[in-house]
């Protein structure tokens, strides 16, 4: 008897829905075992995590605070991933967007009307993110340089550059040695909606809908899909692959850049240590768990943010390591990755017709 994998003609609808659900339960189960090994009651822990993330209105707004950058950067990542362009540079694009927005907020107010500063900061920040994604995209389409490495390396460059700025030339002279720039003027603050949750939430939801529409209902979306699924078919159909990759990556970078803009103008209201805390990497997880669907990404981002906030909460309340959230994310991903096989392939058992004829 032999096990054979047969490629499905279309993705299995049932598996698309069931695999994430199963994965979630498997991750709960595995983490519970881990907790039990270290003599911690998993039920109490999960209850505390849930309480911490959703238990009250202020807690929920904190979950949203973490979800917003994950939504925006996650959207950026999924656009690139649809083209099989492995952009793992969202972290750097986010940081560079934040740097650019800081530049505008701190130094442009002398020659801009004050109401223009925030929109300009958003625009310049998005452009900076687009530039940071554009470099690897250009290297890829012109010289075929592997994008995994270039996007990753540029993360470090952007993060170190930000570090240099807030430790060095942009450091707050009145900050008592605190690593950060002076606070932004009030007109450069992104308005907050509830608690610390800011306007970025609206941006993310609107952009998710727009991106869904573009990907599913327009010529550009169709071309991107063909390139991602079958580059040689795209070539024969006369689709301009290089141009499309450039467009998609500039948009992707702009989205991650916007995440960075929102972080500095909406949350910290200055550039400081802690701008880069791994949102860009977690965004990859968000995009993948959402199966590269922009609408799903919004909900997945909230779920992942809840794990992060819940992790912080159990640290404060139960003295459990906050890294619990990361461990759970990992345990959620492994079954997801393994399960993807069932969405793309059918599994069949083939029995030999006459048994015993084989030596």
């Amino acid at each position: 008897m032999r096990i054979v994998f047969e490629k499905r003609k279309t993705l299995s609808r049932k598996a698309i829905f069931l695999v994430p659900l199963f994965s979630f339960f498997i991750s709960l189960l595995l983490t519970a075992i881990l907790l039990a090994i270290f003599k911690t009651n998993p039920f109490i822990t999960y209850a505390a995590m849930f309480q911490g993330a959703f238990g009250s209105w202020p807690n929920f707004t904190e979950t949203l605070v973490k979800a917003i950058p994950l939504m925006l950067a996650g959207l950026g990542v999924l656009i690139a991933f649809r083209l099989k362009f492995w952009n793992i540079g969202a972290e750097g694009q986010l940081a560079f967007g934040g740097i650019a927005a800081t530049w505008v907020a701190l130094f442009w107010s002398s020659f801009l009307a004050s109401w223009m500063v925030l929109p300009t900061a958003i625009l310049v920040g998005m452009l900076a993110g687009a530039l940071w994604a554009g470099i690897p995209a250009l290297l890829k389409v012109r010289l075929k340089v592997d994008e995994v490495l270039t996007t990753l390396m540029l993360n470090y460059v952007a993060i170190l550059f930000a570090e240099h700025l807030y430790y060095g030339p942009w450091r707050d002279p009145k900050g008592f040695g605190f690593p950060g720039t002076p606070p932004f003027p009030e007109f450069a603050w992104l308005p907050r909606i509830a608690g610390r949750a800011h306007l970025g939430l609206v941006f993310a939801i609107v952009l998710a809908l727009v991106i869904w529409f573009i990907l599913n209902r327009t010529r550009l979306g169709f071309e991107l899909e063909v390139i991602g699924n079958n580059p040689s078919a795209a070539q024969t159909q006369g689709i301009k692959i290089a141009k499309n990759i450039m467009i998609a990556l500039l948009v992707a970078g702009a989205l991650s850049g916007l995440a960075g803009v929102c972080e500095v103008t909406g949350i910290s209201r200055r550039l400081q240590q802690g701008l880069s805390i791994g949102y860009g990497y977690t965004a990859i997880i968000v995009a993948w768990l959402a199966q590269l669907n922009p609408i799903a990404a919004i909900f997945v981002a909230v779920l992942i943010a809840a794990l992060l906030v819940g992790g912080d909460q159990v640290q404060m309340m139960m003295g459990l390591p906050a890294a619990m959230g990361l461990v759970m994310q990992g345990m959620l991903l492994f079954p997801m990755l393994a399960g993807a096989l069932f969405t793309e392939y059918k599994i069949r058992l083939i029995r030999p017709r006459t048994s015993g004829s084989l030596v």
Binding site: K7, D146, L149, L152, A323, Q329, F334, A338, Y345
Partner: protein, 317 residues
């Protein structure tokens, strides 16, 4: 001046040892066609578990075995996902890093003794001490090469042996052909899946030693994020060395050397911002990558294994 060079060399080698182990390990893995981006997580996990082992048993040899076991286990998970389940290797590797760094941090707060409320941070265990080789270690400048710990001496041997294995033996040829052209390798009767499993796990064991060198020699003890991104640098070093173990030493010296120079400059109170120096390795990698890709396109020289990060299935046409 001579003293300065000698001390730079000493720091470079100490900083470079864990990089060399992990780089050689990842070269084996990538040569089989599997891209493992989980190195950062694997190094963290083996650093924390090997330190816990040495803290409780005092046995350095045992703790290296534990590190290899942990590195190999995480690598086998990656192999299972990418070979058997044909998962996306980029995402699978990232998940390993995510899981490994979370888990290492978790264990670092749970494996310690009751007296330290479960924490491993701040504890002292035995560590690998430098062993001076008589006569050689007294040489001017290069004396530092012969005044290292045992793990560094082993890596001196591992570099040429790995080169020899890859390029001069039958098994090495088979390994390279699986990474280069799995269809042909399969037709030649090589079990592609088995080879990929083997070298991914073997590579993971070497990565594990790299992680253990950090917590048992370079920066003895456990601190959160002890790797400081070394796992990612390793991915760049593999490219830098063009998938050739003999060249892995240059990358490790370059990156380790930048560490050492920085250390010196900071001590002397320089005006060059440290961040710019820190950027150098990453910018250098991008630059080298561009040049290599360009050069490869021109001369068709062997670089990346052609089937890297592509899953292989016989039924697929």
């Amino acid at each position: 001046m001579i003293q300065l060079v000698a001390s730079l060399l000493a720091i470079t080698l100490r900083a470079g040892t864990s990089l060399m182990y992990a780089t050689i390990g990842e070269i084996y893995t990538e040569r089989s066609g599997i891209l493992n981006l989980g190195i950062e997580g694997m190094m963290l996990m083996s650093a924390v578990t090997s330190f816990a082992t040495v803290y409780y048993t005092g046995n350095l040899f045992l703790s290296i075995l534990v590190a290899m076991l942990v590195g190999g286990t995480l690598a086998s998970l990656h192999a299972f996902l990418s070979v058997t389940m044909r998962a996306n290797q980029v995402v699978s590797g990232l998940s390993i890093t995510l899981f490994g760094s979370g888990m290492a941090s978790f264990l670092g707060q749970r494996l310690g003794p009751e007296s330290n409320s479960g924490y491993l941070v701040g504890l002292v265990g035995s560590k690998f001490e430098p062993i001076a080789i008589p006569v050689f270690s007294l040489m001017p400048i290069f004396g530092a090469v012969f005044n290292q710990d045992i793990l560094t001496y082993i890596v001196y041997v591992l570099l040429p042996v790995s080169w020899f294995y890859l390029y001069k033996t039958r098994d090495g040829l088979n390994l390279r052909s699986v990474g280069e052209n799995p269809q042909t390798a399969d037709a030649m009767g090589i079990d592609v899946g088995k080879v990929r499993y083997m070298y991914t796990i073997f590579g993971g064991m070497l990565v594990g030693i790299g992680g253990a060198h950090l917590s048992l020699s370079y920066a003895p003890g456990w601190t959160e994020n002890i790797t400081g991104g070394r796992g990612w640098i390793v991915i760049a070093l593999v490219i830098f060395s063009m998938w050739n173990p003999a060249r892995a030493i240059w990358g490790a010296i370059l990156f380790g050397g930048i560490n050492a120079v920085q250390f010196r400059l900071q001590a002397s109170g320089t005006t060059i911002p440290a961040s710019y120096l820190n950027m150098l390795p990453y910018l250098a990698t991008v630059f080298v990558l561009v040049v290599l890709t360009w050069w490869e396109a021109l001369s068709k020289r062997i670089g990346a294994p052609s089937a890297l990060a592509k899953s292989y299935m016989r039924e697929e046409k």
